[in-house]
Symmetry: C2
Subunit: 613 residues, 2 copies
C-alpha cells in the first residue's frame, strides 16, 4: 500500500485535550479523529491495528470453544426491566424512546440480551455448558469522557457469557477464559497484572481483573514486593498486624486485667488527631466510629438493632427485595479508613455514603465527633476486624465532649457484625506471604467474573436436568475492551519519536522509504514491496515527494516495526544494498537488495511466531 493512496493525516501538533501518550500518538499518527467528546473515528491506519486486536481476541475465544453471535446494539428496554437494571444502572445507561414510545437501550453490556436469548432456546442439560460471545459496539454515557479511547462513550467490547449446570463446569470455563485472556494480552505485547478479587488466603476466586499500569488509571492496585499478589484496593485484604481473638469469650477473658471502662471529659476535642494530642496516645488505641447511610440493602436485617421497622421492597418487578435505605455505625481502628466498596459488598447495598450530620445526631444522641460502639443500640454496629484486638481503647461516649477510655471489645460492647472493611494501603503486609505491599494506578482491560444465578434467576432461565427436574443454570461473564487494549499497547510501547508497535498489532510490518521515489530507487522500492507482499508481509511504501527527514520522522511516529531505506548511494554499491532498521533500535544495517525480501520475511515470521506462541 502506497502512502499516497492511503489516508494518514499525521500531525506535528498535539490536540490540547490529549494528556496521555496513547491519545496524543493516536492523533499524531493519523490513527484516530474526534467526532465529539468521547466519540472517535478510527482512520485507516488505526482501524488496521484495531482489527488485529479484534482478530487475536476472536481466535482465542474460538480456540476455547466460545461461539460468536451478533445481537443488536440497540436492545429493548423490557429485558433491562426484567433484570432490574433499568432502575439500578443510573444515568450511564443511554435510554432511548422510539417513535412509538417503546423503551430501548444502547447496550453498555449484554447480560440481559444473552440471558434472554439463551432462555428462549434452553430446554435440556444436554445443551450445557454453553459459552457465547460477541465483539460489538457498546455505549456508556460517561459524564467526563477523557484520555481518548481509553475512556470514551462509545467503544467496542468483546463480551462472553457462559451457562452451566453446576459450579465445576463454570469453574472450568472460567479457567479457560483466564488462560485465553493471558494469551490475548501476551499476543498483543501487553504486560498485564491479573488481579483476583479475593486472591491469596481466601482460596478460590469469583472474579479476576486484567490491569495495565497507568498513571491515569481508574483503579488503585496493591502489589506485593515479595510475591505475585495483586489486588484492587476496592477489595484488597492484608495480613493483620494484631492478634484476632478466637472467640468473643477469649476477647472478654483478655480484657479482665484492663481497668473498667470510664467516661472522661474531652472538651472541644473531636478529631482523632486532637484526641491523640489530648490523651498523649496513638491513633491505634482509638475506635473511630462512622455513621453510614446505605441504599437498596439486600442483606437480611431481621436481627439487626434498630431495624425492626424497616421493610423490604422490590425496586422493580422480578428484582430481589431490598431495604430502600438503612443506617449503620462502622467502628474501625483510629489509624485506618473505611473501604466503602467493601462495606457496600458486605451489606449487598447499591451504594453507601457517610450519613448527614443530622442523621448522626439522631442516631448517636450527640453532635458529630462523639460516636462510639459502647451503648449504641439505635442502629446496627459493624466492627472492622481490627476492633476485635482492642481491649483498652478510647472511643466516643455518645455525649458532647465525652469519651470512654478502657473500652474493651466483647466486654463493653458486642458489634452486630464483624468483617474486614478497612482500606489497605502501601506499607501494609501481604496476606499471602507477609511481604510489603506497594501501590500502582491501573486501568482495567478485561474482567472475568462468576455471576452465579443473578440474571438466570431474575430472568427466569431454566432447563430440565437428567431426572426431568427444572433447574436454573449458573452463569459467568467475561469482557475485554478493545479500544483500551489498543491504546494500552501504545502506552507500553513508544518513545519520544512515536509508537513502537509489537509486530502482531502493527498496521503494517514493514515501511519502505525511498529517498527519492524515481528512477532506479523507485524500481527497487516497488520490486521490494511486491516481493515482500508475495511473502505475505504487509508493506507501506512512502512514495510521497517529501524530504527524507520528514519521511523518517513519520515512519518513527507511525511505529512500523521494520524500516527499509532505499537510496541511490546504497544501490550503487558493488553489492547493491538497502538499509534495514528495527523501530526499537538505533542502528541500521545494510542488506543485499536481492536478499532483502527473503530476510525481512523471515524476521517478520519469526517475530510473529514468538509473540503468538
Amino acid at each position: 500500500m502506497k502512502v499516497s493512496a492511503n489516508f494518514i493525516p499525521t500531525l506535528r501538533e498535539v490536540p490540547a485535550d490529549a494528556v496521555i501518550v496513547s491519545h496524543r500518538l493516536m492523533f499524531r499518527a493519523g490513527m484516530l479523529r474526534k467526532l465529539a467528546n468521547g466519540l472517535f473515528a478510527y482512520l485507516p491506519l488505526g482501524l488496521r491495528s484495531f482489527r488485529k486486536v479484534e482478530n487475536i481476541i476472536r481466535e482465542e475465544m474460538d480456540a476455547i470453544g466460545s461461539l460468536e453471535i451478533k445481537p443488536t446494539v440497540v436492545v429493548p428496554g423490557e429485558i433491562w426491566k426484567e433484570s432490574g437494571r433499568w432502575e439500578t444502572m443510573g444515568e450511564g445507561l443511554l435510554r432511548v424512546k422510539n417513535r412509538l414510545g417503546a423503551d430501548f437501550v444502547v447496550s453498555p453490556t449484554a447480560e440481559e440480551a444473552f440471558t434472554s436469548l439463551v432462555r428462549d432456546e434452553l430446554s435440556s442439560y444436554r445443551q450445557l455448558p454453553l459459552s457465547l460471545y460477541q465483539i460489538n459496539t457498546k455505549y456508556r454515557d460517561e459524564i467526563r469522557p477523557r484520555y481518548g479511547v481509553m475512556r470514551g462513550r462509545e467503544f467496542v467490547m468483546k463480551d462472553a457469557y457462559s451457562f452451566h449446570t453446576d459450579d465445576e463446569s463454570l469453574d472450568e470455563t472460567y479457567r479457560k477464559m483466564g488462560s485465553a485472556y493471558r494469551r490475548i494480552f501476551k499476543r498483543c505485547g501487553l504486560t498485564v497484572i491479573p488481579v483476583k478479587a479475593d486472591s491469596g488466603a481466601m482460596g478460590g476466586s469469583g472474579s479476576e481483573e486484567f490491569m495495565v499500569e497507568s498513571e491515569v488509571g481508574d483503579n488503585t492496585l496493591l502489589l506485593c514486593k515479595a510475591c505475585d499478589y495483586a489486588a484492587n484496593v476496592e477489595k484488597a485484604g492484608c495480613k493483620p498486624d494484631y492478634t484476632v481473638p478466637a472467640s468473643i469469650e477469649e476477647a472478654k477473658a483478655a480484657a479482665t486485667s484492663v481497668p473498667a471502662i470510664e467516661k472522661i471529659d474531652t472538651p472541644h476535642v473531636k478529631t482523632i488527631e486532637e484526641l491523640c494530642g489530648f490523651l498523649k496516645t496513638d491513633a491505634k488505641k482509638f475506635i473511630k466510629t462512622l455513621i453510614y447511610k446505605a441504599v437498596n440493602v439486600e442483606l437480611d436485617l431481621n436481627t439487626a438493632p434498630g431495624c425492626s421497622k424497616l421493610e423490604r421492597k422490590s425496586p422493580s418487578p422480578g428484582a430481589p427485595a431490598v431495604y430502600p435505605a438503612a443506617f449503620f455505625a462502622v467502628a474501625i481502628r483510629g489509624d485506618l479508613d473505611v473501604n466503602e466498596v467493601k462495606l457496600a459488598a458486605l451489606l449487598k447495598a447499591g451504594e453507601v455514603t457517610l450519613a448527614a450530620d443530622t442523621d448522626v445526631e439522631r442516631f448517636t444522641g450527640a453532635p458529630v465527633g462523639f460516636a462510639g460502639p459502647v451503648g449504641l443500640n439505635s442502629i446496627p454496629v459493624i466492627a472492622d476486624e481490627t476492633i476485635t484486638a482492642l481491649n483498652d481503647a478510647v472511643t466516643g461516649a455518645l455525649e458532647k465532649d465525652k469519651h470512654y477510655q478502657h473500652a474493651a471489645y466483647g466486654r463493653d460492647f458486642t458489634p452486630w457484625l464483624t468483617a474486614d472493611v478497612r482500606i489497605v494501603k502501601a506499607g501494609d503486609r501481604c496476606s499471602v506471604c507477609g511481604g510489603e505491599l506497594y501501590e500502582k494506578k491501573g486501568n482495567e482491560l478485561g474482567h472475568i467474573f462468576k455471576l452465579g444465578y443473578k440474571y438466570t434467576k431474575s430472568m427466569n432461565v431454566s432447563y430440565l436436568d437428567e431426572d426431568g427436574k427444572s433447574r436454573t443454570p449458573t452463569m459467568g461473564c467475561y469482557g475485554i475492551g478493545l479500544d483500551r487494549t489498543l491504546a494500552s499497547v501504545i502506552e507500553e510501547h513508544h518513545d519520544d519519536a512515536g509508537i513502537i508497535w509489537p509486530l502482531t498489532i502493527a498496521p503494517y510490518h514493514v515501511i519502505i522509504v525511498p529517498i527519492k521515489y524515481e528512477g532506479a530507487v523507485k524500481t527497487a522500492a516497488d520490486d521490494l514491496a511486491a516481493a515482500l507482499e508475495r511473502f505475505g508481509v504487509e508493506v507501506l511504501l512512502d512514495d510521497r515527494n517529501e524530504r527524507p527527514g520528514v519521511k523518517f520522522n513519520d515512519a518513527d511516529l507511525l511505529g512500523i516495526p521494520y524500516r527499509v531505506v532505499v537510496g541511490d548511494k546504497n544501490l550503487s554499491l558493488p553489492q547493491p544494498s538497502v538499509e534495514v532498521k528495527w523501530r526499537s533500535e538505533k542502528e541500521n544495517r545494510l542488506v543485499d537488495v536481492s536478499k532483502a525480501a527473503e530476510e525481512l520475511a523471515g524476521l517478520v515470521c519469526a517475530e510473529l511466531e514468538k509473540l503468538n506462541s
Copy 2:
C-alpha cells in the same frame, strides 16, 4: 466443528410472523433469533454466513482503493443540524438526548459523519480523490419492521463516500463502484437487476440501484422484454405513443383546423369515466388536471403564476432556502396517472400530496372535478409531456357542471412548465428500443449515487486548488445492506427442504453425517473431517446421537453445499467408500474413502474459484 459443540437450534415450526422464505429459513436453520420487533440476533451459523458477505464486500472495496474507517454508531446531532437533515429526516431518525442534554443520533446513514471528518482533514487538491467506507451498524426507526432482516430496525450497511475535485474524477470512482458492486453480487451468487435512474435515451446517469426480484419488494421495476433496460417506476420513462410538437408555435399551427374551444354543459359528470360515457369518447382525449400541495420547494418560483407573494426560508441554518408550501396544477392525459416522485423531483420538493378539496375550490373557483388548464392563473400549471400532443381535448372549465371541448395546447392554454411526470406501466414502450415493458417487484440491496455538492456545500467543505483558490469538492455515496444481501441469497437459493447456499456464503463447505457416530464410522468421519480441514475446507460434523433421517433433514435445512454420509455398509465394501451429495442435486455417488478428502477439496476450490472469478 462438531454440531454438539456448536449452537444450532433448528426448528420444525415456522414463526408465525415469518411470511417470506428467507425469514422462515433463517429461523428454522438456527441462524437468527428475534430480540424484539425488527431487532435480531445472528446465532453462530448465521454470523458465519454474514461474515462471508462482509468479507466479500471488504475485499472488493479494498480492491478499488476505497479505505476502511470506523466512525461511531452514535453521532452528535450537531452535524445533522448542519446538513439540515435533523429537520428533514422525519421520525425514522432515532434521536437521543444524553444525560447532559446533548442531542445524538443513532446513525441511519453517514453522509454527515464522513463529510465532517473529511472537512477537518482536507486542505489540498493533492488529497483528492478520496474514497472512504465503513461496514457498521445502522438504525432506522421503521414503523412496521417486517420480513426478518430484510426490513429490520437495526442493520449493518457498507457505506462509502468519495470526494473529488471534478465530475470526471467522480465519474471514475462511480464507475469503479458500479463494477465492484456487480462483482460483490456475483460472488454472493445473486442475480441483481441494476437500475439506472435515468438510463437509456437520457445518456449518463447519476444513480444506480441494485435490485433483486422479490414478491414483497418495496420497489416496482419496469423491465424491457427486448433489451436490458430496467428502471424504478419512481423514475421510469417510456417511448411516447404520440408526437410531441417541436415548439409551441408548431402546436398552435397544428390546432388551426380544430374548432374553437367551446364550453359545454356536463351536469353531474365529474370523473373521467363518466365523461367518457357522456361524450362517447376515450380517456386519451381528456386533459385531467390535479391540484397538488408541495412542501419545502427548492425550485425557483419567481416567474410562476400566483406565486409572487411566496417567500423562501431556510428550514435550518446552512440548509438551502425553500418555499415552505406551494400549490400546483398538474395536467395530464386522461388515461394516465401522475408520478408523485417525478413531480417532487421536478419541483425539488420535500413532499407532494394531493391538495385538500377546500384548496382545490379556492384555486379553481369550482368544486372538485372541474379543474383544467384553460384560464387557470391562480397557481402554476405543470403539463405532462403528453398534453403537448393534444389539440382537440376535453377538460374542466373551472365551473360547476361545465367542461371545455376542442381545447388545444398552445392555442387555448400555455402551461408554466412541461415535463415528464407520468407513471409508466407494464405495456408501455421501452424508451431505449421500443420493446414492451413489464413489471417486477424488487428489493434494493445497493445504491450508488452522485451526490454532487449537497453536503459539501451545506457543511462548508473546501480545499485549495492548484492555483491556491478555495473550492468545494463534489461527492458520491455508495451503500450496500449486508443483512438484506444475505437474506436475498436465501430467497434466490432454496428449495422446500431448506437453504441451498452458494459455496462462497455457506457457513461450512461440507457437512459430514455419520450414520451412527461410533466405532469405525466415528474414526472414518473424524479422519475425513481432519483431512478436509488440513486442505482448508470448512467442515461441520454431525456427531449427534440422532436418527439418520433427522440428520439428513437438518443437513438439507442448513443448506451446506456438500454432504458426506459415512456408514458401516459403505465402509465395508471391498473399496471402502462414503456417499457424497451436492445439496442441489438429488443423486449421490460413492467415493473411495481414502480419496474423498482430496476430491472434495478439489471440488470446493474449483467452485469457489468459479464464483469469485
